[in-house]
């Protein structure tokens, strides 16, 4: 099963953008209920998932994130009533950009998780970590710093999916 994992014991770095009203409290509730998930995620709070634009996600990748999760309220629960809906529109754009850039679409994910759905939050994080672990480190790793020759080559060689 572990055959396809390119780097053994690879600990991916995953950025989570979570909205203040639903998904961030869901992450808190996971803690209150002492549910355990892998320590690979760092949550950045925004007021609404509508605040997160494709640029923020791409910036995270540019800086070497292995995966990005954008999470917010369900459409009908959105604190700002239209933010989540608009975020879903933006996410479509992001998917296109990611496809055009040629790296795995499994590195990004959008979820709608209400404050009560903390088990879902844990499940999504677990799945995300597992999935990114299978994909291996981001091809953009270290691009922002001076990349080594080997890294540049590996980027050139990795075929667009």
């Amino acid at each position: 099963m572990a055959k396809k994992i390119p780097v053994k014991d690879f600990e991916p770095k995953i950025v989570v953008f979570a909205c203040n009203w639903c998904s961030y409290p869901a992450a808190d509730a996971a803690g209150i209920n002492r549910m355990q998930y892998p320590p690979n995620v760092r949550i950045i709070r925004t007021m609404c998932m509508g605040r997160v634009n494709p640029g923020h996600v791409l910036k995270a990748f540019e800086m070497g994130a292995d995966g990005v999760l954008v999470s917010g309220c369900h459409f009908e629960d959105c604190h700002y009533s239209f933010g989540a809906r608009k975020a879903a529109e933006q996410y479509k754009k992001l998917e296109q950009i990611v496809r055009m850039l040629g790296f795995e679409k499994e590195r990004i994910r959008q979820e709608f998780i209400s404050a009560a759905e903390f088990p879902k939050f844990v499940k999504v994080v677990r799945e995300m970590v597992e999935q990114v672990q299978k994909l291996g480190p981001t091809p953009l790793k270290g691009v922002r710093k001076v990349p080594s020759r080997k890294q540049v080559e590996s980027i050139m060689e990795s075929p667009p999916s």
Binding site: K13, V15, N20, Y24, P25, A27, D28, A29, A30, G31, I32, N33, R34, M35, Q36, Y37, P39, R42, I43, I44, R45, T46, M47, C48, G50, R51, V52, N53, G55, H56, K59, A60, M63, G64, A65, H79, Y80, S81, F82, G83, K86, A87, Q90, A116, E117, F118, P119, K120, V122, R144, K145
Partner: protein, 958 residues
């Protein structure tokens, strides 16, 4: 619950009973008994150490006994107050030799096993009863074998089983074999609508609850068979009918009309056999199913009779509190100064309960001081934040909650090594009062100008630490929190090494953001204290009356010659028996002429401004120039509904002369006791329900009022010796007393016949309608019902004209049904997503009189809550436009549904302008701006980027 728990003006007493009430409205003395909780409520941090060492295991009441808890426990995960509680029944005892482990383990010394009960006397102006409901014990309906058969569960148990945080983790399995059920059958009206069980009323919530649960089960088990046995599906609320239709069409749920007579268990498999008569075919059927859910009735809260005695208020025989007038004033109890809301007066859903709750609040407030809140001025010292960055980091231990997992000493040293950090320290409990003062001392001592608190979640504690900063004069927005408890030590308890590494990242990210924070000022804005109410129907009138009682000046605008709307046309109201005009007259007597200015035959010429500062210009509707400009702080829209007008030929309307609508019948019935139509006495009158409701033509949802109205009219006819027949799809009499009226109608001999939209009754007759023909399913025969007059019960529909008129000035969003969309269907039924603009009555969706009055009171409460101060503070987290980058394309204007952005001419070019009073700071506009000209304060691009950078690029620096 969180809001109540931390509201500065609410004192919450849980685990408390009312012993005695003396005095009268405006001046009650209430003696209450605080039962000991054995844990200090103010000191407990809900760390859970005590529960961990507690050796006792007891059934968890919140999980209906399906899960377990300790003798010292938190009742459920979002409980308010969050403090733990000890059960005296389960605890091994106070003797430390017996146990006392919790006392030993608590680091904050909160557990006191000798805590006594306390009696306190409170002085209050008004009392609100919101005691809610209990559930009928389905064991009384022994034919369904609840508790005898393991796979029969009630709806509350099902709710816990389906909950992701419930005892089974959200998996629905059978109790006998722990396997997913192949077939789930719901039985409705267990106890409800049943005189034999002494529950004559409809429980109102169970139909939608069953449909919702059925759809959840459908999601979980796409192949399971799901049945719902019902008498009528009462999907009467806004959007409910569409939900029911979705269950019918997409949910593949089998709705069976009929109430099963009994259940049998197959002891080998644990399967259940349902015996029921299918009323649509007349056959008795035996149906094998794997699980049965009983939708049990709702009954008044236990002890409500005793409470009523203490309060001096009256209840009905079952124990529901009696309002003064169920139709015209559902909130006032029989004892002045005591108000009722929610299910204390009868079963209600969340939306209606919330509306009534707000209504009760505004009534109670009338006994308190006039609307202005006391203004507290406090001295805040000046604090100089100029000069180089000086960041202070405080790492909280939270007892052992953080320190037990993370290496807090290492974190303190690590924090000190981060750029611009000049101070770092550990705190045992950062939130404790004494520690707050310590933080303030350290801020002053070290001249800190940015503060990072690494502790729990900013969702609950950011306000506390912001206040700490504010008190020393440091701008509260220069605080950043690192959530190293809820999102680190608690979720990675098994992995302390990685957790400490993660905590380092979180602190580094918080410091990075703190270094990029800017001070923000909350702008104070003066607000007006007059209110504009548009629409003079029952809702508008009631809103105006209640607001005037709270000392606001109200401008009531009505387009026609008289106020009173539809209600004044009604012949008789149930259950009071007064006429619509009488109700309006009683309301008009309450009108305070000094406080309420009524403008009849007036329309809106223009509305401009924003919350607290609207400017409304009126014009006379008949064209006479009488413009008047009024300054108001809030606007209430109560323009009501229109009746559906059947198109020519719909159910023979205007084709036969003897077909009229129910409103036309109301006018005809009004003047005389003898009812004559076309100069002939009548023998047979038929009604057809749901004309223009629940269907593709007209309204997609239920119009709520028509079943009750038709029954009322049918009773009147029947009493005159005219045979009334009501063709219906479901009888939706959901009000507490309406079921009784329905029963009375049947006793009097009114015939009720079902039809489906596919097979409507056929009209028989040439020039005059002679009869209605329908197919009787059991006899399998066509039967003709002689009909001298056919009445079409027409539904409500949104008044497009008046809504369009409002929308010219205020962009209130509309729902799919064309009615104005509320802020939240459950939690904000009278608010719109535009601040300062409210809705009430039928502009939001069909309602009857008592619901409209409930909502009118609710809207008065919301307006009062907004305007009960001289200024309002505006949240400074808003969007800001960089005018140099803005090219005036207007994308943001279209994106923002709050209408907060507009384009303005500036130096010959268009630029976007943010109205900070309307902006809520969600940041969606910034995402859409094609030139990057929009940024969001406190969540600026640069601040988000600095956190990313700290996480991803700076890890190796230290």
């Amino acid at each position: 619950m969180m809001d109540v728990g931390r509201h500065p003006h609410i004192k919450l007493f849980t685990h408390t009973e009312v012993l005695e009430v003396t005095g009268k409205a405006g001046n009650f003395k209430v003696k209450i008994l605080h039962r000991a909780r054995f844990v200090d409520e103010n000191e407990c941090t809900a760390c859970g150490d005590c529960a961990e060492v507690c050796p006792v295991v007891a059934p968890n009441e919140f999980d209906e006994g399906l899960g377990l808890r300790r003798a010292i426990y938190s009742p459920f995960s979002q409980a308010v107050p969050s403090a733990y509680i000890r059960s005296d029944m389960d605890c091994l005892g106070t003797n430390p030799i017996a146990c006392g482990k919790c006392v030993e383990v608590c680091q904050k010394k909160c557990v006191n096993l000798d805590m006594p009960d306390k009696i306190e006397v409170l002085e209050v102006g008004a009392i609100i009863v919101a005691t809610g409901i209990d559930y009928y014990d389905p064991r009384e309906a022994s034919e369904y074998g609840y508790t005898r058969f393991q796979n029969v569960v009630n709806s509350i148990e099902l709710e816990r089983l389906l909950s992701p945080s419930g005892p089974s983790g959200g998996k629905l399995v059978r109790f006998t074999d722990q396997k997913p059920p192949k077939r789930v059958s719901f039985i409705q009206c267990v106890g409800s609508r049943c005189i034999r069980r002494d529950i004559p009323y409809c429980s109102r919530i169970c139909c939608m609850n069953a449909v919702k649960s059925a759809l959840l089960i459908r999601e979980m088990y796409p192949d399971a068979q799901i049945d719902i046995f019902y008498i009528d599906i009462r999907a009467f609320g806004k959007g409910f009918e569409q939900f029911y239709q979705r269950a019918l069409q997409e949910g593949n749920i089998n709705f069976v009309r009929g109430k099963p007579s009994r259940l049998e268990e197959d002891p080998k498999t644990g399967d259940l056999i349902i015996l029921s008569e299918n009323v649509e075919t007349g056959k008795t059927e035996r149906l094998r199913t794997s699980m049965v859910i009983l939708s049990e009735a709702v009954v008044p809260a236990a002890n409500s009779h005793e409470l009523a005695k203490v309060l001096g208020a009256r209840t009905d025989a079952r124990g529901f509190f009696l309002p003064k007038d169920a139709c015209g004033d559902p909130i006032t109890s029989t004892n002045e100064g005591i108000y009722l809301c929610g299910c204390s007066t009868g079963p209600k859903d969340i939306t209606d309960s919330i509306a009534e709750a707000s209504g009760a609040a505004v009534r109670a407030a009338q006994y308190l001081s006039p609307y202005k809140l006391p203004e507290v001025k406090e001295e805040i010292p000046d604090y100089d934040i100029s000069g180089p960055l000086r960041v202070g980091v405080f790492v909280c231990h939270c007892g052992s909650n953080i320190a037990g997992v993370l290496d807090v000493d290492m974190l303190k040293i690590y924090a000190a090594s981060l750029p611009d950090v000049v101070f770092s320290d550990n705190l045992l409990f950062a939130c404790a009062e004494s520690t707050q003062r310590l933080i303030q001392e350290k801020i002053l001592e070290n001249k800190l100008n940015r503060v990072v608190v690494a502790a729990c979640t900013p969702r609950t504690h950011e306000p506390i630490f912001r206040e700490t900063l504010r008190k020393v004069g440091l701008n509260p927005y220069l605080l950043e929190m690192a959530n190293i408890r809820d999102q680190c030590s608690w979720v990675h308890g098994m992995n302390p090494v990685s957790a400490s590494a993660k905590a380092k990242d979180l602190i580094r990210m918080a410091v990075a953001k703190a270094r990029n924070l800017e001070p923000l000022e909350q702008q104070e804005m003066e607000i007006g204290h007059n209110v504009m109410v548009i629409g003079g129907g029952i809702s508008g009138l009631e809103t105006a009356i209640q607001l005037a009682k709270r000392d606001y000046t109200v401008y009531l605008v009505e387009k026609s010659k008289q106020v009173g709307g539809w209600v004044k046309e009604l012949r008789i109201l149930y259950p009071s028996g007064m006429s619509g005009q009488e109700l309006i007259d009683t309301k008009l007597k309450e009108i305070n002429k000094e406080k309420i200015k009524i403008f009849t035959e007036a329309a809106i010429e223009n509305i401009s401004g924003f919350v607290g500062n609207f400017e409304v210009t009126l014009r006379a509707a008949n064209g006479k120039p009488a413009p008047e400009t009024l300054q108001v702080g809030a606007i209430v829209i109560a323009t009501g509904f229109e009746l559906y007008g059947p198109s020519k030929g719909e159910f023979g309307y205007q084709k036969y002369p003897n077909i009229i609508t129910n409103m036309e019948l109301e006018y005809l019935l009004k003047p005389q006791d003898k009812f004559i139509f076309q100069n002939k006495p009548l023998k047979h009158v038929s009604f057809i329900q749901c004309v223009g409701s629940r269907g593709p033509d007209g309204l997609p949802e239920c119009s709520r009022y028509c079943c009750q109205a038709a029954i009322k009219q049918a009773i009147a006819l029947q009493k005159m010796g005219i045979q009334a027949t009501v063709f219906n799809r479901d009888i939706r009499v959901y009000h507490h007393e309406a079921e009784t009226m329905y029963r009375e109608a049947r006793k009097l001999g009114v015939t009720f016949i079902r039809y489906t939209p596919e097979n409507p009754p056929k009209l028989v007759g040439d020039k005059q309608l002679k009869a209605l023909q329908f197919r009787e399913p059991v006899l399998k025969k066509d039967i003709e019902v002689p009909t001298d007059l056919l009445v079409l019960s027409v539904g409500m529909r949104p008044s497009r004209k008046s809504i369009a008129e409002i929308q010219r000035f205020i962009k209130v969003p509309l729902g799919m049904d064309g009615f104005v969309l509320e802020k939240h269907p459950k939690f904000g039924p009278v608010e719109t997503n535009i601040e300062g603009v409210f809705i009430c009555g039928c502009i939001q969706g069909p309602k009857d009189i008592s619901d409209s009055i409930g909502q009118a009171n609710a809207v008065a409460a919301k307006v009062d809550a907004l305007l009960a101060r001289s200024t309002i503070l505006m949240e400074p987290i808003t969007s800001v436009i960089n005018e140099e980058l803005c090219r005036g394309c207007g994308t943001c204007v279209d994106v923002c549904e709050f209408g907060a952005i507009s384009l303005q001419e500036k130096e010959g070019a268009q630029v976007a302008l943010v109205n900070e009073a309307l902006c809520k700071g969600c940041g969606t506009c910034a995402t859409y701006c094609p030139t990057g000209a929009i940024d969001i304060r406190h969540f600026r691009d640069q601040q988000i980027e600095s956190m990313l950078k700290a996480f991803l690029l700076e890890e190796d620096r230290v």
